[in-house]
């Protein structure tokens, strides 16, 4: 069979047009994917190696805490808020308790405030160490995980020694903190609030945390592959970050010293000597670097705080049944992930009328469609991981 010139031209046109026509593919990542820190699903339109119109699908872990809080009493709600960001469960209690105390106009004893500060910073170290472990792993480096999680375990042991819980301490009481795990009832005259040897063990653990920061610094910041994967990738300018409500290290990496520990004056942070860490470029590397520096700052803060813990009571005088008078307020605090706040509406009852939970990861994650527009597929994981979210904090 002979092929004439027309057929040849026709066939070549067909093949050319087939080559030029690139078809978009829809890529589905998750909901069960190791880099999604929980159950997050991403639906992306993929053109070659680049992703467009990335839409996060969330809600797989929605537990309705705002509704549940309306049918619980105040002491019961601290158990709920522990479970919002479970990587730093203790830190979630602080803004809620502070909001209730503010409306009750309670003066929290200084010792209780110091204990709260120490434990909050421990929770921050734990949360950031999880990031130090998981982020390089998502980029393909497995060893930092072992360094980081080993030290995190030491800090968790200290937290457990004081509160009795590794992840869900439920240690705050309105007006103070609980006596230490196993030390007897609050009505006893002499209660032990910190376990024996706590100061000594904490000092040793913080020294080890500072050492592991140096190790991680060498291991990760000196790694060319990680630098190539993170430097200049996922740059978020300040104004975009602010309009999406990014907070915490994600916002500070873009160069703003937005740290609520300095701005809201809710725990005795002013009495300690520490610095707000800010980045310069707002890329994935800076977000990693900021968190590493924050671990160092928190460790130094704890070392100072345990030297300064005042003696005295750990609980303000409160009635047996907590009733918060009529009022409404918004209290926010610097959580490891960013701004966590509670808009609390009370009306004199045993429980609140309305609690709006403002969680950091929810706003941090909402920037993903913007940050991933046109990104390379491997960069999806790099950018997503650098935002350090926890799905419990997103879905509440």
């Amino acid at each position: 069979m002979s092929i004439d010139a027309d057929t040849i031209r026709h066939l070549s046109e067909v093949s050319v047009s087939v080559e030029l026509q690139t078809e978009d593919m829809t890529l589905n990542i998750g909901p069960q994917h190791p880099s999604t820190h929980g159950v997050l699903r991403l639906v992306a339109r993929v053109d070659g190696e680049r992703a467009f119109d990335v839409q996060p699908v969330i809600g797989y872990m929605h537990r309705g805490y705002e509704k549940l809080a309306e049918v619980r009493t105040y002491p019961q709600i601290t158990t709920i808020v522990n479970r919002i960001d479970w990587v730093a469960g203790y830190a979630n209690e602080i803004p809620f308790i502070t909001a209730a105390e503010k409306i009750m106009e309670l003066e929290v004893p200084p010792r209780a405030q110091y204990i709260r500060l120490i434990l909050t910073e421990m929770a921050r170290i734990c949360s950031h160490l999880v990031f130090m472990a998981s982020y390089p792993l998502e980029l393909g480096a497995a060893s930092p995980l072992f360094f980081a999680l080993r030290e995190r375990e030491r800090v968790l042991d200290l937290l457990e020694g004081v509160t009795g819980g590794r992840f869900h301490p439920n240690f705050n009481r309105i007006g103070g903190v609980k006596p230490a795990y196993g030390s007897g009832s609050m009505t006893r005259k002499w209660v032990q609030d910190l376990p024996a040897g706590f100061y000594r063990d904490t000092r040793a653990a913080m020294d080890r945390v500072l050492e592991v920061c140096d190790e991680l610094d060498n291991l990760v910041a000196g790694n060319e592959i990680i630098l190539a994967r993170t430097k200049g990738v996922g740059v978020i300018p300040v104004d975009v970050a602010a309009s999406y409500g990014l907070s915490g290290p994600n916002l500070r990496a873009s160069g703003v010293p937005f740290d609520l520990r300095k701005m809201e004056h809710y725990l005795p942070y002013d009495e300690l000597d520490w610095n707000v860490v800010t980045g310069t470029n707002g890329d994935c590397y800076d977000r990693w670097w900021c968190r590493l520096q924050e671990i160092r700052e928190s460790a130094k803060m704890i070392q100072q705080a345990i030297d300064q813990v005042p003696e005295g009571p750990i609980q303000a005088k409160v009635p047996k049944v907590i009733k918060v008078p009529k009022g409404e307020t918004y209290v926010r605090a610097e959580n490891p992930k960013g701004e966590m706040g509670y808009y609390l509406v009370t009306d004199g009852g045993n429980g609140p009328y309305r609690v709006k939970i403002r969680s950091a990861s929810f706003s941090n994650l909402s920037i993903l469609p913007w940050a991933l527009e046109g990104a390379l597929i491997p960069d999806i994981i790099a950018i997503m991981g650098s935002l350090d979210f926890v799905l419990g904090d997103v879905d509440r």
Binding site: K67, S243, R358, S363
Partner: protein, 209 residues
Amino acid sequence: MTSNQSDVTSEQAETTTVHPLQEFADSVAAAVGGEAEITFDTVKVHVPAERWVEALTTARDDLGFGYFSFLSAIEWTNDPAVGYPLTDEVEERIEVICTVGDVFEGRRVTFSTDLPVDSPTIASLVDVYAGANWHEREAHEMFGIHFEGHPNLIHLYLPEGFTGNPLRKSFPLLSREVKPWPGDVDVEAMPTEGGDAAADEPSTENPEA
């Protein structure tokens, strides 16, 4: 003597105590044309619903509040199906609250506006603050507020096809319907063998005697 003294101090307190945030609150209220109220260090500025977007645009452009904290709503009702009732009679409404601030000094203001309980509708803030997108989707599904001009007003947390607005006070908490809480039914009786009625009674005999 003592009573006189306390009278004087309380009088002084009434006349001289100005909240440190009062000046700031007044300046924000004047700029956006709203009413300021300070409740426990939270500056709340109430604006009419039709000037919602305008007020937030002023806050962003003229007052430097580029940071979007959150947007949500409170349903004020005298007859809640769930939760603790209010002690005083209130005007039934849905109050939309939106907190914005600045990232350099940490100032913040909560803007609020009132919407009717039936078919609440308000203009969307997505063009002012990009972060409002998800917060408005959440308020839409949870309270049934319609945000006009929102590009993608679909369910965020709830599955498609879910009916009802769970954070409305009229929406029952089904698990509590089945089993009241908190209450004396908290502790369940141990199951008994054979269904003997007498076995349900707690035994007073010492089993080791």
